[in-house]
Amino acid sequence: MNKRVLVIGGGIGGVQAGLDLAGMGIKVTLVEEKPNIGGRMAQLDKTFPTNDCSTCILSPKLLELASSPDVDIYTCASVEGIVKTEDGFVARIKKRARFVDEKKCTACGLCAQKCPVKVPDPFNKNITMSKCIRIPYAQAVPAVYMIDREHCLRLLEGKCGVCEKVCPAGAIDYEQQDEIKELSVGAVIVATGAEEFTPRIRPEYGYGIYENVVTSIEYERFLSASGPTNGHIVRPSDQKEPKRVAFIQCVGSRDVASGELGYCSSFCCMQATKDAVVTCEHGPNIRSTIFYIDIRAYGKDFDRFVDRAKTEHGVEYKRSRISGIIESPDTKNLVVRYITPDGALKDEEFDLVVLSVGLRMPDGLGGLLEGIGVKLDAYGFCRSGAFSPGDTGVDGVYVCGTVTGPMDIPETVVSASAAASLAARGLVSPDREPLGKAADRKEPDTSGSPIAVGVVVCRCGTNIASVVDVPSVVEYAASIPNVTFSEELLYACSQDSIRHIINKIREHGLNRVVVASCSPRTHEALFQKGLEQAGLNKYLLQMTNIRDQCSWVHRDTPDRATEKAKELVRMAVGKARHLTPLHERYSDVKKDCLVIGGGLAGMMAALDVADNGFVVHLIEQESFLGGNLLKIKSLLTGEDVASAVERIVKRVLEHPKIELFLNTDIAGIEGYVGNFTTKLLTGDRETSVEHGAVIVATGAREHVTESYGYRTDPYVVTGREFETILEKKNPLLKYVKRIAMIQCVDSREGERNYCSRVCCSQAVKNILRLKERYPEKTVYVLYRDMRTYGLREPYYTAARETGALFLRYDASRKPVVEKIEQGSFIIDVFDKILQETVRLPVQLLVLGVGIDPLDTNDRVAKMLKVPLTQDGFFSEAHVKLRPVDFSTEGVFVCGMAHGPKHTDESIAQALAAAARALTILTRDRIRSQAYSASVDEALCTGCGTCAEVCAYGAIEIDKEKARVNELLCKGCGTCTAACFSGAIDLSGFTNKQIVKEFEELFI
């Protein structure tokens, strides 16, 4: 079996899949069409609902992928064809010429500065101009320039050639040719994403006609601090700050009239909310208004975010589909014409209009996929069955992200991890090569010898040397005590320079090295490797940044820049004198996995880990498997649940690698990543299991309401109960002629201020099933927002077409139910359109009650040292990019324990949690960070302050002394600053090292 996986697409989905596969020890080739990876997420300013900076959270993932030895990244490349072979696939990859040598380019940017050809910048959605040779954005990975072959004078007409002349690294290569490569792989993951809808084809919105109408993605670029306007919001027409900004929702989505885009794009409601909040934050005088149909804030903490947007930021929400936008020619302001809730036509003027454009499938992907037998749906999405997310129906080909349908970032990340776990089957092995042979290597003991610091000052071509007087810095360095060697290098980072440094270390017996060049964030690892090759511990390196933080920013004051560079070198030497060798620590990994919860998510996670060859201990409190799924009859998409559950339970029971514990409770969990011991209680019998990872899949339960007379009248039922009534053809259905479904019962307000995500789809499903059999029955749906997001939307449309009546109510004016007698009710509901209260006589009330977290979550959370949300669900490490991880390593979450979700979403999350757990289980040993806190027991008073401030639970107080678990410590140093007695220190950043670093300034 070929053990390489091809990932097509380098957006966040492809990146996550690549990271997970590499984490499991599988080789990956990632192919990206654009010159850099990161996809659309790199273009976003912030992310909802936390308003985290998008680039900041994305960049570390990109760098991690790029630096992985198991991952080959092809940028400017596309997959031209895939052919099935005996043991996998052969892919034809076309790599387009960059005309810049990826190995030589140092991203100094001189070429772009001197390039005479200006072209619209595609990364900034063509809002600003860029050069013909460019890098998309500052943090792009890989950091390599590219020549735009459509505009380059040298390539087109043989003229110019300036970039080649100025490139100090000799990286420009006009002769570079497109290449075709054939690659054999064991599996393929398609993560090609979707594209934004182009509103040009809907002229009523005025996009492309009126200057001040922009799309949401263009607006993201305006908001971005590194965007075309440096984060200032301005109108394209006059560069003035707008005072009134309108966001128009569902542009190109939920558009039944055009047929093709009948789905909901899922994320735009929240994106608009986020952008509106950020807009309001830009100035107290800017007003944001969102025109919407339904606010689909169905995710974790989304409703609270919308509430805050309204109350704290004054964002206005207007429920209306707008009929058109007209520009006032003199002011270039825009008049939005819309229908108010009471049916009146109103015009309102805005300075800027943002169109929330939805997603659609690009043309042309079909050819590649259909070529290997993958089928696409009517919209062009590659949709999987609800019980097999990520599956394409073709063995060995899996999908994730928006190519499967519209979804937001965390769902993309989940689906990517899920696809990774599917692709990994048969490729991972429990006996993987041990990690960290380097740690066993003997380094010479330098502790006794006198400190000998070598200082290397980089010219970085002219990047540093044109401003900083490098020779004088070198001369100055030689005069600093303990410096026994100093010199300058043209490019310290080039291969021959590294070799040169290695020789000098040996020749001069250096035991500390200071490199004065660029940022340690990008280059430290490279120089560290050099030290290692010279036989020196790599942590005896100290870098100081005289380029990014000196020559580049003090261009006009070269003398002062030189002075600063000298001081920075002295400071670095000051710290270097006190550097000590550091070592990563290793601990063995126990190969079993513990899965808590035998519902759908738990079973799927257990099966996935077990299918990959690892033993799973599956714990279930009840005497049976299946959880909530046993009470569901069919899915919205039509799948029969009972047969699916039966199939899954059977597989679990028969799986040789799954050890099942029914009627079992957890008495206690101890340990840390790779090394947990859990005590189980089955009746009176206590057992203990050892395992390397934990998956929490404890589930949730249906909310028990007391509203609307539930439990006092058999004619008041929940949505789930109604499903059973329908399925069993309960005689009650004969009597009932008129049915009311009341949505959001006890939800989205007060203490349960969250959306349960499934109830709207459940109502739609029930309507479709009911009307199929009893088309004559009257159904009223009383709702606040219909949240049939994504590809569920067409079912909502179908439900409306059955004649069911949808009436919206406000949380402040809930429907009032008057019970006439058992099985006879009158509902008073205020109708916004009629502006009056409507009286509905019905015989059956169906309540959309939503989902509650389990009361036992608190106990499990405490045992695992993981947090819960305000609502009582488990709280993941990061809402966007670590959706199934906890900040406690080795512990993962999936299914409704994490929050309410649909069947397919639970399964995707289960597979994702399994993939994440496999990245640990497939290792023999886990490596800790070299930077770790350590305690001087002589000084420690055992007060416990350090343990309190540690966000990772890495410190415990044992016999009145603090003890750091180096495998859990992340090396932030927060504990060191909190310690009252100076007993705890962070290696690599000790108090002494830092104090000595800045003291040098005052000598």
């Binding site: 900041c56 971005s224 990014d548 966000a951 140093g973 600053a977």
Partner: protein
């Protein structure tokens, strides 16, 4: 010892304050790098020390810097909610708040100590912060401890 607002005499205009910056590795240090990559110019009065997290800032670093003669201390961390280490920046915020109160008690000038949240994408904001801080310190004059010790 107090410098009156707006009374920038000739001596002060020539005065170049010395600023020590303690920046977290993930956000503000990266923001300073971005200012460089974007070639945004700012005064060269700042000397940056890289910490892994603003939460690792021991208040004694600030006190010691001021006692040694730094004219200003800048502490930079991730925006609330963005901390690479979950909540280190909140701890920094609390510590700096307490520190500023105690500096005042001790007769040192808390306005010489700035705490700013600057993300990895806010190169321009980093440059602007340095510019503002230099201006502010020029107005404030040299660290009085410098001349006091000189006696």
């Amino acid at each position: 010892m107090e410098q009156k607002e707006g009374s920038m005499d000739k001596e002060n205009r020539a005065f170049e304050p010395k600023i020590i910056a303690f920046l977290c590795n993930w956000c503000t240090y990266a923001g300073a790098d971005l200012a460089g990559v974007s070639r945004i110019q700012y005064p060269s009065n700042i000397r940056i020390i890289r910490l892994m997290c603003s939460g690792a800032l021991d208040p004694t670093y600030v006190i010691k810097s001021l006692l040694e003669g730094a004219d200003g201390v800048l502490i930079g961390g991730c925006h609330p909610g963005d901390c690479h280490y979950i909540s280190g920046n909140f701890k920094a915020r609390r510590r700096v708040a307490v520190l500023k109160t105690s500096l005042k008690e001790a007769g040192l000038e808390p306005e010489r100590v700035w705490l700013r949240w600057i993300s990895a994408s806010e190169g321009a904001y980093f440059a602007k912060t340095v510019e503002e801080m230099v201006l502010h310190l020029k107005r404030l004059g040299p660290n009085p401890l410098n001349s006091m010790w000189a006696i």
